[in-house]
């Protein structure tokens, strides 16, 4: 394994006393001094700044770029307009998931993909293997730094340092070549927290100044830094999948209830189509459920879930939820067993704890 890399914001984290961990080969703050719970609250109530420079970026260009993407992603991008973003799983032919990605359409022959840090190399190779026709691929991951500004105050903060009219930017839309405090950026109205917010991509050279400008603009809005720990809890509360937990080589998008991002009817057949159609017809024996603990206890990844004395699945992500003040989890369970049982439990070490299913997402912001 190569030595873990520093992002261009590493010195900022150190100055703010961030607890640094190695995450997918990147040195990133897991939390800052006042703690994960406060970071979650600050994101829901004010605004927080996350370093997400570990995310990978891939450029896809060429006359066959759209066809290429239609073949590798499960969602239908044919209706995607310039300046719009779409989320999609990328599947293997057997329906297992390579990664889940964002596709930014710059124009019909030019796309910007955002992929998971740990999957960047694997994804890029998969794209190369599946490339045909006039498609030019470039791994831009090393060129971009990325910040996520998340929370209700995000727009007010960012608007202070850019002339771009942010109120006109709709959710899941972006602009490129946006001047933010003198830096040339891609700005998108996206995030992984369930709050309003923006993700800002810039060159490594501009990163430090961009952080400082956001930091300064954020002071009157009580902007604070947040780490990977809060990010994971926020996305869990919003029931957003995390690759390696709710999606993997062995978990299909349908099992993760991502049906609305799978378009078997689109004009161009895609990797995994047949397998997913078959799975849908035959029924799914492990389906994602939201769980809420009825007793105090922390349901964590890998813990077995039981109905009576029968094991019916496992927890894929779980945590204490600061927003709800409850213990919550997402779990893959046998849907028939869930239907039939009145005694659902999570096994935590030597004891089992009562739990009930609950609607996803656990948290939805008021608009």
């Amino acid at each position: 394994m190569d030595e873990a890399k520093k992002t261009p914001f590493y010195e900022k984290h150190a100055a703010l006393e961030g607890k640094i961990v190695d995450y997918s080969g990147w040195l990133l703050p897991v939390q800052f001094s006042r703690g994960l719970v406060e970071e979650v609250h600050a994101t829901r109530r004010k605004a927080t700044l996350f370093d997400v420079s570990h995310m990978g970026e891939v450029s896809v260009k060429g006359n066959d770029a759209e066809i290429f993407l239609q073949k590798i992603v499960t969602n239908d991008i044919s209706g995607l307009k310039n300046g719009a973003i779409i989320y999609s799983p990328v599947c293997y032919p057997d329906g297992g998931v390579v990664d889940d990605i964002l596709i930014y359409r710059i124009d019909k022959n030019n796309y910007f993909l955002v992929v998971n840090a740990a999957n960047t190399g694997k994804d890029y190779n998969w794209f190369l293997e599946n490339r045909s026709g006039d498609v030019e691929l470039e791994n831009l991951s090393a060129d971009y730094a990325q910040l996520a500004l998340q929370g209700p105050e995000s727009m007010a903060i960012l608007q202070q340092i850019t002339a771009e009219p942010l109120v006109e930017m709709k959710y899941y839309h972006f602009r490129k070549d946006v001047d933010v405090a003198g830096a040339n950026c891609i700005v998108s109205r996206t995030g992984y927290t369930g709050e309003d917010g923006f993700e800002i991509y810039c060159s490594n050279a501009d990163a430090s100044d961009l952080w400082d400008a956001l930091w300064e603009a954020g002071q009157i809005h009580e902007l604070s830094p947040a780490g990977l720990g809060a990010r994971d809890v926020l996305r869990l509360e919003a029931a957003m999948p995390l690759y390696g937990h709710e999606l993997s080589r062995d978990i299909t998008p349908l099992q993760a209830r991502l049906d609305r991002f799978v378009a078997p009817g689109k004009a161009i057949p895609f990797n995994g189509r047949e397998a997913l159609v078959k799975q849908k017809q035959e029924g799914i024996n492990r389906l994602l459920f939201g769980l809420e603990m009825l007793e105090r206890g922390v349901p964590r990844e890998g813990y077995p879930v039981t109905a009576g004395d029968k094991e019916i699945g496992w927890v894929s992500s779980g945590s204490y939820s600061p927003t709800l003040d409850k213990f919550i989890a997402m779990a893959f369970l046998d849907p028939e067993a869930v239907e039939e049982t009145e005694e659902l439990r999570v096994q935590i070490r030597s004891r089992s704890y009562r739990v009930r299913t609950t609607k996803l997402p656990f948290y939805r912001r008021e608009k």
Partner: protein, 131 residues
């Protein structure tokens, strides 16, 4: 970073503490350990009457991100547990040597306490861990 390290208790290399009070000893987690764990949200206590063994898991302390075993500093029989922690596990964060105590044991072997670190030794130990 400055951690509170108090007198009158003995410390383990896993950052538990034991405070002798006559025939029994109060057991808890050090300020350093609670800070490393972060916000504590759940505590699994031993049962009163349970036998704990030095160096073996005796309770489980969970923060939002992590699960940590509390290893028994000394052998003994659990005579009391801090039930306040069931509803307020965060007491370990706010008052690790006071209201955040975890359980009390009947001391079997005084010499086991002597083998643990005193305040000065633990200060050196924590400083080394921080490097």
């Amino acid at each position: 970073m400055d951690y509170k390290i108090v007198d009158g208790v003995r410390y383990t290399r896993k950052h538990e503490w034991a405070r002798p009070e006559g025939e029994t000893a109060v057991i808890g987690l050090s300020d350093y350990a609670q800070d490393k764990l972060g916000e504590i949200v759940f505590v699994e206590l031993p049962e009163v009457g349970a036998e704990v063994e030095a160096g073996k898991g005796s309770a489980v302390i969970e923060s939002v991100k992590a699960v940590a075993d509390l290893y028994a500093p000394i052998d003994g029989t659990v005579v009391e547990v801090n039930e306040e922690l069931l509803d307020q596990p965060e007491l370990i964060n706010s008052d690790p040597y006071g209201d955040g105590w975890v359980y009390k044991v009947e001391i079997k072997d005084e010499s086991q306490l002597e083998e643990l670190m005193d305040k000065t030794a633990y200060e050196v130990f924590v400083a080394e861990e921080e490097e």
